[in-house]
Symmetry: C2
Subunit: 328 residues, 2 copies
DNA sequence: AGAACTTGTGAAAACGTTTTCATTCGGCAC
DNA sequence: GTGCCGAATGAAAACGTTTTCACAAGTTCT
């Protein structure tokens, strides 16, 4: 029924070993290689990847486990990862955990069962803190978020500096009641919060912090509540694009004008952030660079498993727009 | 080194066949099942999926090939597909073609080599038109787009009706120079164009049509050019969310106020469309339903391969916002 | 000229499972 | 008691490749 390598071998008049060598890399005479290629075309042969992986003990596959596929940050990163992987002749399995530790465990087990070559992973804080360098059976690079120091390679943003830059900018514009709404599940949100708090104290300002599940709906609910208080902040820093969107909705719901009644500054320069008037001030992350660096670290880790753990820290770029402009 | 089923068998004091049966479904005594489960825990055994797939000739995997992962429509659909797949104990391979027929061919070949159980596919028009019912070696459901009539199961929007609804609405608001900017690569865009043209002629209006690659940058460039003309349209219909975004940017670039100088109506009720003032009128697609129906069709096709080809047509919902409101 | 490599090839083993086939054992019908 | 059936199990085959091993035929080195 289905055509296998022995059918190709018979058609080409050689052994299966020779077909295998002709298709992969191996010493084969040019004449035989052509015969084999002709036989492959004639028979419509498609190698069975399961058999290939089983025998060769090499899946040529990398797993990409992201926290939220709806977050454009992760789709952008995943495109960079995919490009690099396919350029290297590898396949990618993309998984979405929805920030749920149970799903993270599920997918990590799946990666083991697939015997993947390596994994790029954006873990929740809970999972990251539980994962020592030995607990994963494959080379792993953390992305966007880091875990126990020295446990895994990682590529992250300089979150402390980026958050501080937003505070500095808002303070320079004359805002003082600057609140921060941060995601509750990631190390990244914690770092942004730390950067925010350090900068606030440097400016001798009292920090106003709230935590929320990192999605637009939860952020909108929390921000709406907050903005309904009489002592509501006059500026808000939001720790990612989804939370930023929630805050914009909350401001609308409360009838607050931006930036007159409320200044907004967030993370992730998503395509819509310059579309909503008066434009949202954000930290732009080098998404393509993050994906590419993660693949580089992963390949180098696969190459030399025992090299010291590395952490690549990239800088964000502040994109200043109308949402943080102090009105006369 | 790595622990295999024979290690588990030895630890449990049974044969590998029994372990296999205890782990899958098969007649095993309760006592033995418990022994095996204990042995699995003790050894940390992880089944090798490649070996399992090779021997059982069942990948329990469905391929999901989308045209553009940046398009939130596809990420929303893919979440629905994933949920349904994992609920059925299947894995998903997600691939992104960037509307490129070459990448489509690449991924279709990959699906063959993976021996996937089935595929859900949003093809470009070029590929869809070239694919007869025999050309794919696995059950396939087209999604968002359809190909040759009767060749493959599909689940699509009623694009003609949806586009006509937008025209009707704009005409009712008193607009008459209504232009349409449609994607160039999909059958869906063609259908929306056809619906637009039919409705225009019903209203005795002259159609104004342009085509463009379905991404925000290309759409912005084309729309900017168009809107610079002296006989520019006073309303625009955009055939998907990315093109809609490009049009919004173009209006900004030309300094045109929406809807005073230019009305906008598009497809895909993306999260940002109600954020940009005065809110964008769109057709909302039942994304979760599309994904769920696609999986249903796929499972039923796998079940009974020879049943007649089916096409599920779902209706969009018009979400009317400020961008199409006629000013006094 | 002979030894020592290199290159190209085929036969057969190996990869880690599931499945087939055969066997044993206990219970049930006659 | 004998025969039959179903359930539980093990031995071994099978899945479709790649890799190892062996070998023949050049080719290069001494």
């Amino acid at each position: 029924m289905t055509v296998g390598i022995r059918d190709v071998a018979r058609a080409a008049g050689v052994s299966t070993a020779t077909v295998s060598r002709a298709l992969g890399r191996g010493p084969v005479s040019d004449a035989v290689r052509e015969q084999v290629e002709a036989a492959v075309r004639a028979t419509g042969y498609r190698p069975n990847l399961s058999a290939r992986r089983l025998r060769s003990k090499s899946a040529q596959t990398i797993g990409l486990i992201v926290a939220d596929i709806r977050n454009p940050f992760f789709t952008a990163v995943s495109r960079a990862v995919e490009d690099a992987a396919y350029a290297a002749g590898m396949r990618v399995i993309l998984c979405n955990t929805d920030e749920d530790p149970a799903r993270e465990a599920l997918y990590l087990r799946l990666m083991e069962e697939e015997r993947v070559t390596g994994v790029i992973f954006a873990p929740t804080k809970a999972t990251a803190d539980a994962l020592t360098s030995e607990s994963l059976g494959f080379p792993t690079v953390f992305i966007d978020r880091s875990g126990l120091p020295g446990a895994h390679d990682s590529v992250v943003l300089d979150n402390v500096a980026a958050a501080a830059a937003l505070v500095d900018h808002l303070a320079a514009q004359g805002f003082s009641r600057i609140g921060g709404l941060f995601g509750s599940t990631s190390s990244t949100a914690r770092e942004r919060q730390a950067g925010y708090e350090a900068a606030m104290s440097r400016h001798r300002l009292a920090p106003l912090v709230r935590s929320v599940a990192p999605n637009a709906a939860a952020a909108e609910a929390e921000a709406t509540r907050w903005l309904g208080q009489s002592d509501r902040p006059e500026a808000l820093i939001l720790s990612n694009g989804l939370i930023l969107m929630g805050a914009v909705r909350a401001a609308r719901a409360r009838g607050l004008a931006v930036p007159q009644d409320l200044a907004l500054a967030g993370f992730d320069n998503e395509p819509w952030t310059d579309l909503v008037e008066p434009g949202l001030t954000v930290i732009e992350q080098p998404v393509a660079e993050i994906g590419a660096q993660a693949m580089r670290l992963l390949f180098e880790r696969i190459e030399s498993p025992d090299q010291p753990v590395r952490k690549v820290v990239l800088s964000g770029r502040a994109v200043l727009r109308g949402s943080t402009r102090r009105q006369a």
